[in-house]
């Protein structure tokens, strides 16, 4: 079997030489095509939409359809198109710097997302650790339980939290009935409610990468650490945690990135006074119908998030390096 494979391999350069140049170019093209497909995908679903949003962010708001000007078209020929391009300006970006509202919204969003990410990590790590150390037979069931909430609508699950957190809600009823508190806690419409909502909603995104990092870890490493004189707590920080770091980074980014731009949770649980960039964007777009400014908000948000995404990719590359 192996000798046959060797023969074909050694014979192939000779047969290649016999082929026409055209056939070889064709083969090369098919090879390229496989690489091109993901790039085409990125072009259509990421780059072109981004260019459109970016172009709108450089336009001026107008009472028209679409509600901005200039709407680029080729009716005036090349010269007309170039004239339209000259109308584009960075005014909207200047505007974002002039109103403190936007800056505050960005900062608040990043802080809320960061705090929520840390909280999700603190809740998620013990869950993932417990799952990874559970008997192999029940691990699929546990995994299923983590994924199960995805089967109901995200919106409905967030609504359900209103019923739990409101002053006369389930949580307060329980605490009052058991005598832990005597006054209902005000949780709904506070930042606490936003944290609870984000931790709850994004927990699976934290648990799954952590679980996959912890599950493939060889338990004999912990035994080896103990054998060499390392008590269990110390073994966790010296062996388990560093080895799960790729999972920690992946989980944190999977929570942090969407949490920064989160709209539904602050809107439903955080009430009207919370200031997050997702809500600001929604207001600019739907309440003010100011597409150019909201596009500018979106572009800045994207730039803000590219940094963690790049960190994420570097972490992934490092994880792959470690596997080899």
């Amino acid at each position: 079997m192996s000798s046959a494979a060797v023969t074909t391999a050694s014979a192939s350069p000779a047969s290649n030489a016999g082929k026409s140049i055209l056939a070889r170019l064709g083969a090369a093209f098919v090879g390229r095509l496989v690489i091109i497909i993901p790039y085409v995908w990125l072009l259509f679903f990421f780059l072109i939409p981004f260019v459109i949003v970016f172009k709108i962010s450089l336009s001026q708001t107008a009472i028209a359809i679409p509600p901005y000007t200039p709407a680029l078209d080729f009716s005036g020929g090349i010269s007309g198109f170039l004239a339209q391009l000259k109308q584009l300006s960075l005014d909207n970006y200047t505007w974002l710097t002039q109103d403190a509202l936007y800056f505050n919204a960005y900062v608040t969003s990043v802080i809320i997302a960061a705090v929520s990410t840390v909280l999700t990590l603190l809740v998620g790590y013990p869950i993932a650790y417990g799952m990874a150390r559970a008997p192999a037979t029940i691990r699929p069931t546990l995994l299923m339980l983590v994924i199960l909430p995805f089967w109901t609508s995200f919106l409905i699950r967030v609504y359900a939290w209103i019923g739990i957190l409101k002053p006369e809600g389930l949580l307060n009823q329980l605490l009052l009935a058991t005598g832990v508190i005597h006054q209902p806690l005000i949780i709904l419409n506070t930042y606490t409610a936003i944290f609870i909502g984000i931790v709850y909603s994004y927990l699976p995104f934290m648990v799954l990468p952590l679980y996959s990092a912890l599950e493939k870890m060889d338990y004999s490493l912990i035994e080896a650490a103990k054998d060499l004189g390392c008590p269990p707590t110390s073994a966790f920080w010296k062996i388990t945690f560093p080895l799960s770091l790729p999972g920690v980074i992946a989980g944190c980014l999977l929570v942090f990135i969407p949490a920064v731009g989160e709209f539904v949770i602050p809107d439903l649980l955080g009430g009207s006074q919370t200031l997050m960039i997702g809500k600001t964007l929604w207001n600019e777009f739907f309440a003010n119908r100011d597409w150019p400014v909201s596009s500018a908000v979106a572009v800045i948000l994207l730039l803000l998030l590219i940094v963690p995404i790049m960190l994420f990719q570097r972490a992934q590359a490092r994880a792959q390096e470690m596997d080899r």
């Binding site: 060889d218 004999s220 490493l221 035994e223 080896a224 103990k226 054998d227 060499l228 004189g229 560093p242």
Partner: protein
């Protein structure tokens, strides 16, 4: 001077009634649920001994090692190390170190940090750690690989790092779980001798778990043969091979021919065994077995001679037919089918290049052996 096997031992504390045992398993039982992994087992290991636990997989030998390391606690009985009862002492406070079968090298640390790990745990001063690590790297000849990560090393190099890491703390006892299991045959043979040298030079007590009898025979001072959680025999390699205590041990270590029979008559160790079908075996090694006892006569293939004519002086000679011949270069293995159908395996060293009395397939042949060549087993 006569000796069992071909070597003479100067190191034999197990024969000295005054020698103090170093590791003692006292009636140790370990159960996992309903399964009894170790069953009321007692065992004594001496200081500086190279001790092998040999058995098939699942026989409980690894459980013994893990109990010594502290990863498992005995269900009943006690384990003493240098007079101290180990019960309740966690693995990180035991003066033993283990070399894991999977090596268990920390993948995120360099070779030198792996070796230094245990020393740092002990709070050894930095310069001392550095010199100890350098010493260990030199010992396993990996000086130029100090900064590498485990995944950048070959299997043999990883094995050396694991070894260096486990001896770096100078443990009272080094436990080795199938230390050579992942190496290829040639490397394994080289490493066997290196391990023996290392044990000699460091003067440590080694307890090795293995399923490979050749490995155990090569390296160990004494071997404990374990089956179903019980010790079948503890003895030197030569004793295990030449004087097995039971049918199981005789069959487990090396090749053996067994004849079932009854002692026909016996006096002072010598006996005649009636093996049925007119075969009578005369032996000097009947021990205390009296007339009428059902016994097994076990004899190793290399102690049987095969010839085309009945040797004149032979005490034991049985006729049969050559059934199979395997020429292995250094020796030739004959399978001779006796007239009662039993196949006897005999091996002959090819000490000369030319054979005076060549045998071929289906030739009539005689198998013969001396009265002291085999052993009589009653268990």
């Amino acid at each position: 001077m006569k000796s069992l096997g071909s070597i003479r031992r100067d190191f034999a504390p197990w024969n000295d009634p005054n020698a103090k045992p170093y590791i003692q398993f006292d009636n140790v039982t370990k159960k996992f649920g309903d399964f009894t992994a170790v069953n009321n087992l007692s065992l004594t290991i001496f200081e500086r001994e190279f001790f092998a636990l040999l058995g098939a997989s699942g026989c409980g030998k690894s459980t013994l090692l893990r109990m010594l390391a502290g990863f498992e606690e005995p269900t009943a009985g006690r384990i003493l190390l240098d007079g101290q009862d180990l019960r309740g002492i966690p693995p990180y406070r035991r003066p033993v170190n283990m070399m894991f079968q999977s090596y268990a090298l920390f993948p995120h640390m360099t070779v030198e940090n792996n070796i230094a790990f245990g020393l740092k745990q002990d709070g050894m001063p930095k310069p001392e750690i550095a010199s100890r690590v350098a010493e260990m790297l030199k010992l396993v000849k990996l000086e130029q690989f100090a900064k590498r990560k485990p995944h950048q090393l070959s299997g043999g190099q990883r094995q050396r790092v694991a070894l260096a890491r486990s001896v770096a703390k100078r443990p009272k006892v080094l436990l080795l779980d199938e230390p050579l299991g992942a190496l290829d045959k040639k490397l394994r043979e080289e490493t066997q001798f290196e391990l023996m040298d290392l044990q000699q030079n460091l003067g440590l007590t080694f307890v090795v778990v293995t399923h490979d009898q050749e490995e155990a025979m090569t390296m160990a001072d004494r071997i404990a043969i374990i089956d179903k959680g019980e010790v079948m025999q503890v003895a030197t390699p030569a004793e295990v091979y030449e004087a097995p205590g039971s049918r199981f041990v005789a069959g487990f270590v090396g090749n053996v021919n067994m004849f079932e029979g009854k002692i026909a008559r016996g006096e002072a160790g010598s006996a005649s065994i009636d093996a049925g079908n007119g075969i009578t075996i005369r032996t000097d090694n009947a021990g205390t077995a009296g007339a009428g006892t059902a016994v097994t006569f076990a004899i190793r293939p290399e102690k049987i001679k095969v010839s085309s004519k009945k040797p004149a002086e032979a005490v034991n000679a049985i006729e049969g037919e050559v059934y199979d011949i395997a020429y292995l270069g250094d020796m030739t293995v004959y399978h001779v089918r006796l007239d009662d159908g039993q196949v006897v395996r005999a091996s002959t060293m090819n000490a000369a290049r030319i054979t005076e009395d060549p045998l071929s397939w289906n030739d009539r042949a005689w198998v013969s052996f001396r009265p002291d060549a085999g052993v009589v087993l009653t268990r």
